[in-house]
């Protein structure tokens, strides 16, 4: 059973995922279905440079700074949402 704190974090991550999907949909040509496990490279065919451009939009939106090291293990919307959630919580 998850604790209250874990559920709060999960809800926050889900909300961030929805925002990320919105930002990403705005810059994609096709109307690919986006989900938590959508992979930027294998599902969306983005070049690394396009991923980094997207990340900068995310930084502006949430007014945060994401360092490149935290991005090294990020491949999906869900993984990026977790990084964003961590930074928002400070």
């Amino acid at each position: 059973m998850s604790t209250l704190m874990e559920r709060v974090v999960e809800a926050q991550v889900e909300k961030i995922e929805a925002t990320l999907e919105e930002i990403l949909a705005g810059s994609l040509d096709s109307s690919v279905g986006l989900a938590s496990d959508t992979n930027f490279v294998t599902d969306l065919g983005l070049e690394s440079i396009q991923v980094l451009e997207f990340v900068m939009e995310v930084e502006e939106h949430f007014d945060i700074a994401i360092d490149m090291e935290s991005l090294s293990d990020v491949h999906t919307i869900g993984e990026l949402a977790k990084v964003v959630a961590g930074l928002i919580r400070g």
């Binding site: 440079i49 900068m56 930084e59 502006e60 007014d63 360092d67 490149m68 090291e69």
Partner: protein, 404 residues
């Protein structure tokens, strides 16, 4: 369960990418200079070719004084140093070059590295460590990215030349401002645009951060004394570290870092790319010193370079081609489709004009382009020939595109 992936499997993907590149035409990575004739001419595919993609900004590679200095050093000091400066000792000319570079920049210290790549790696690795912050222009050269990675610092990118983007990151990281290093280039090597260094220096001072400027493509090109964009824009005193290379305007190999800070000599103990590599060959150090003297005493080379850059830029602009925003010795001719860029590049080569082809992901904004780098050694006639060939190749492609 045993992993089925083999160490060598990754090369299948690389081979497939290379095959895609070569399937549509000539492989741009396989150019052979069969014979180099001068700073601006070579034999390629058995044909005399005008070189307009060499970074040889001042055209000093065949300068008689530089060649003589290299020959003398080769005869006097041999072919190589066979070791590193830390373990095997510096030759006197390494130290002399460091003194001359420091004097050239009007700062207390300079340090010489064996390549420009090593200079960026070695400077960043020594300067920034775990817990420090680097704020890097997104279009920065790979060597700066690699140096950041090696440093262990937290690295944040800001949008290319976007002061709002830089300021926001400095604000968000304000509690670490004192241990923050801003990293930019003077002249960006793909699109040929310059950094707004006055604004960057003002932000650096406002937040109390430090500033490193890579003048690889701007040394000898900008400023009253040829020190670079920092000098041109009057911000030398606000720049903490200048890095650069000997391999472009100075026509040799090697790199350097120059700084007013007294900590720079201590980098020698903290910079692995400095410590664990052989020092520059005596002949290379000698030609670099001679080229630096030429750069300092011949402002006419910079004037000629500007004249040539202006002539080529205006000519290309007149054909309605889409170029980078600034007139500089790096002129990017931009294309919407990578196939058009590749076809133009190949036809130019067949017509005896050598440019550099850039396609994604090597370009900063995902576009495709031909990079022309102008030299002071180009004659007006050569520039005009380059323009004529461009016109002959571009026009039929354009009318074909219109006809659809």
């Amino acid at each position: 369960m045993k992993d089925k992936v083999d160490l060598l499997d990754k090369f299948e993907k690389i081979a497939s990418n290379r095959d895609q590149l070569t399937a549509v035409g000539r492989d741009p990575t396989s150019i052979v200079i069969e014979r180099i004739i001068s700073p601006t001419e070579a034999i390629i595919d058995g044909k005399q070719t005008i070189l307009v993609g060499t970074n040889n900004y001042l055209g000093l590679t065949f300068d008689p004084e530089c060649v003589a200095a290299g020959q003398a050093a080769l005869a006097e000091a041999g072919t190589g140093t066979t070791g590193s400066r830390m373990a095997n000792g510096s030759y006197q000319p390494h130290l002399a070059l460091e003194r001359e570079l420091a004097d050239f920049y009007g700062v207390a210290h300079a340090m010489v590295f064996s390549t420009g790549y090593a200079a960026n790696l070695g400077t960043l690795a020594a300067l920034a460590n775990n817990g420090d912050v680097v704020v890097l222009d997104a279009d920065a050269h790979a060597s700066l990215y690699d140096g950041c990675r090696m440093s262990g610092a937290s690295v944040y990118r800001f949008r290319h030349n976007d002061m709002g983007s830089l300021e926001k990151r400095l604000q968000r990281l304000a509690d670490k401002a004192g241990r923050t290093l801003i990293v930019v280039e003077g002249l960006y090597s793909v699109l040929g645009d310059r950094a707004p260094l006055r604004e960057i220096a003002a932000l650096k001072s406002e937040f109390g951060a430090h500033l490193l400027v890579d003048e690889a493509h701007s040394l000898g090109v900008y400023g009253a004394h040829g020190r670079g964009v920092c000098e041109e824009l009057g911000v030398m005193d606000e720049v903490d570290f200048v890095v650069g290379t000997f391999s472009k305007s100075l026509g040799a190999t090697g790199g350097f870092c120059a700084s007013r800070h007294d900590v720079l000599p201590l980098f020698r103990y903290a910079s692995r790319p400095y410590i664990f590599t052989a020092s520059g060959n005596p002949s290379v150090i000698a030609t670099t010193r001679a080229a630096l003297r030429q750069l300092a005493k011949r402002p006419d080379l910079r004037q000629k370079l500007r004249h040539n850059a202006e002539r080529l830029y205006r000519g290309l602009e007149g054909m309605g081609l889409r170029l980078g925003a600034d007139v500089s010795p790096v002129i990017a001719v931009r294309f919407e489709h990578s196939a058009d860029a590749a076809r133009t590049w190949e036809r130019l080569l067949e017509a005896g004009i050598y440019t550099n082809l850039f396609v994604p992901p090597a370009t900063p904004d995902g576009s495709s382009l031909l990079r022309c780098s102008v030299s002071a050694a180009h004659s007006d006639e050569q520039i005009d020939t380059i323009l004529e060939r461009f016109s002959e190749i571009i026009e039929p492609m354009r009318s074909q595109a219109v006809r659809g």
